[in-house]
Amino acid sequence: MSDRYIRQRTLNTFGDAAQDKLQQASVLVIGAGGLGVPALQYLNAMGVGRLGIVDADTVDLSNLHRQPIYTENDLGKFKAEVIGNFLKAQNSETEKVIYKTFLQPTNALELISEYDLVLDASDNFGTRYLVNDSCVILNKPFIYGGLFGFEGQVSVFNYRGGPTYRCLYPEMPDRVIADCNTHGVLGVVPGIIGNLQAMEVVKILTGIGEVLSGKLLLVDTLSMQTHKMNIAAIRENLELKSLTKEQYMVPCSSMKGLDPEALEAAAGEFFLLDVRSKDEFSAYHIPGSRNIPLDELGDRKGEIPVDRPVCLICQQAIRTKPAAAVLEDHGVALYELTGGLRNYLEFIKGVRIPDTQ
């Protein structure tokens, strides 16, 4: 395998020394979507020694136009797993670590502490502020990328005393700025921005070039103009010592359906949460499922783990909707058993059970 990186090793001002630094480094990529896909493809190909991939989401048809590593065969599969497997086939010399979870206040510090730096490829403000605050606490630099329409933003925050994301945008925006997947985006724009983020990773890890610390790079792809704006560091933002009580908004994910077949195939991946009454649960339930009746759910959220997606179960997939609303801020990906247990039992037994709802 001696000549995999030969074109980087022969590059002036890069060479063996920089290649070895990449090999010894570890990068945590938050989000395997529009920005994460290209960044992961190139970081892996260039030889970053250990890549962590944090994403609890599954591949949806509407992702394919801008996340072009996922194929039509991958619909419904976990993004982190699909891209993780691809990256392993692409470069067996480096380590890939898959986290099928969203970044949350409960896991952020632990996850990030195991990596040299973070590439923020998330798609919502809650995660961005959580990445920022966690990186400040742990003293790790992170590479920020953001998108709006045909424009992108790139910067490196918390690098050697430089400014943080809060020095740029002090307060978390609310609903006026389109969050999550509501806004349009041309497929190749995250490709450009995600690759610029990967370039900043290489600069930090190897010491080549000028790191975009203290600068916000604005890219307007329609005019192909770039601007660099200077950001001043604000000392108090660098002195954060713990995650604030402020509520970090939950990642973008509306509840998705799992049909009985998909649930059978992947039951172990989910926390199976049955929200029917105790009596209904006693009469029949899916083996391995846990019961918290809908009316107790608000008080008993703490019993629900946040390290894997939750599949909500009820009789006819009606009570799963208010249950999802209650769990909206729990920071986990939510699924529901499509058609409820009625549909499930028909699938596994050909039995039609009476409607008790």
Binding site: G31, G33, G34, L35, G36, D120, A121, S122, D123, N124, F125, R128, G145, G146, L147, F148, G149, E151, G152, Q153, L168, Y169, P170, E171, M172, P173, D174, V176, I177, A178, D179, C180, H183, V185, P190, L216, L218, D220, S223, H227, K228, M229, N230, I231, A232
Partner: protein, 80 residues
Amino acid sequence: MKDILLFGVTREIVGGATVRISEEEFPKDVASLKAMLMEKYPPLKEIISLRIAVNNEFAKDELTIGSEDEIALIPPVSGG
């Protein structure tokens, strides 16, 4: 006449890549520029953390400006 550069959602609010301000009405500092634009385009008021850059530096409200300065409105963006 002076063109202020717009980025992100401010382009959609204003309906173009720039907004033009005449010499006569040009405000004296960043705070009055903000106030003026928010009056003209009320949805700008709703943007928390809207930042203004003057000559490629993010500026504080009290910074004095003139029509010779390069000015840009830079709101947060969330997409990824």
